[in-house]
Symmetry: C2
Subunit: 214 residues, 2 copies
DNA sequence: AAAGCAATACCACGATAGTAGTAATTCAAT
DNA sequence: ATTGAATTACTACTATCGTGGTATTGCTTT
């Protein structure tokens, strides 16, 4: 089966060129094309193409906003951003919004087809520069276990902090660790003192980054 | 200035080959090589090479553990994993640990040099398959604002939830919103009911993902 | 017009959490 | 050998939270 593709692109010429390219290539089938995000949002959830090529700059709603809306509606569909230059921040935003990969517009037709196959098969084609941005962002999230703070705490204290983060009550923590509730109290008092806070939520926000507020 | 490189690789032959390749190529300089992680951990922080090539499978400590220790000590240094096959999970772990890119061992010398230049210049060379894993993981972190749950809550309730996540007391929230503490109480009771929880921490863990526990 | 929800507000009770002071034991470091 | 931190544990008091019941107002939706 050919890979079914939809195009969102405001410039008529380019849209037509892409359509012709795709339909003229074996294994590819362009099943729809739209000149704006609104139209695409209305139609794409019904036809669920395998891959959608999205121009990042669209007249009304941007390509990013468009993906943001569409991706939750068609989880199976792969969205590939088309961008003019290597605008890392914009591409990064698009990936956050749910895009699965991107290509620069100047990419040769054969490489474009390659990239479509790649996203279709579960890859995320991107330059190593963008990759670095993504990796860094994700490394930050992983290691936001504020090492300075955590280092202050003893083994036991860290252990208890873990349970605190799960929302357990003192009694429950005590039972898990076969300790007296009063001991847990003492540990938590010490934890709070070391972290310079005075509530569970403050402690968690201090050690693991804030949740709701970046 | 040539890019200074250190190698961590347990097989003598390969280590020597790499050293020769690097020193024989213009713009590259292999300034150190180690056959195990422990030795590398002791020395690399002192010499701070531009790039370190790390074999993922090492006799004692693994390459991943090694990067985990070293990366915080030399933030400027770029770590590049060398792996035999496209073992996505392992590579993924390595990236979490702080690696900046990877290459498969079968890569041709010229491409290896290219990749080194790429990491050195702030890229993260990786296949599109790995890129996808990284992107997905990071998309999860971004959108873990459990939309199903949040949608249940009214505007006011979400607002209050934000303050809850900051660790404010009922009284403090009330003051911020110019409402009675009792009103906050009521809202929070409703929030808890909608989320099917019965404590602040549980509510936060439900809506924003759990922090300390993946 | 009635039903329903969102938003506001109060009272009262019991549970949980946070604060303060104190102390014994153990283990590591000086 | 002594100091110091970690771990354990207790008592007592206060503050904050969680829960239940109830009520008014205003806006939608039927």
């Amino acid at each position: 089966m050919a890979i079914s593709i939809a195009i969102i692109e405001d410039q008529d010429e380019i849209r037509n060129m892409l359509t012709i390219l795709l339909n003229g290539s074996e294994g590819f089938s362009c099943i729809a094309s739209y000149s704006n995000a609104e139209e695409a949002i209305a139609e794409i959830p019904k036809i669920k193409p395998d891959v959608v090529l999205v121009d990042i700059h669209l007249p009304g709603q941007s390509g990013i906003a468009c993906i943001n809306t569409l991706k939750p509606l068609c989880a199976e569909t792969q969205f590939m951003i088309r961008t003019s230059l290597e605008d890392t921040d914009t591409i990064f935003e698009a990936l956050k919004a749910g895009a699965n990969g991107y290509i620069v517009k100047s990419t040769s037709p054969s490489k474009l087809l390659d990239a479509i196959v790649e996203v279709y098969h579960g890859g995320s084609p991107m330059s190593s520069q963008i990759a670095r941005k993504v990796v860094s962002s994700f490394q930050n999230n992983e290691s936001k276990k504020n090492k300075t703070e955590v280092a202050l705490l003893s083994k036991r204290e860290n252990e208890i902090l873990q349970f605190l983060s799960k929302g357990l009550r003192y009694k429950e923590i005590a039972d898990k660790l076969f300790l007296s509730t009063e001991t847990i109290r003492t540990h938590i008092r010490n934890i709070y003192e070391k972290l310079q806070v005075n509530s569970r939520t403050d402690a968690l926000n201090k050690v693991f980054g804030s949740k709701g507020n970046p």
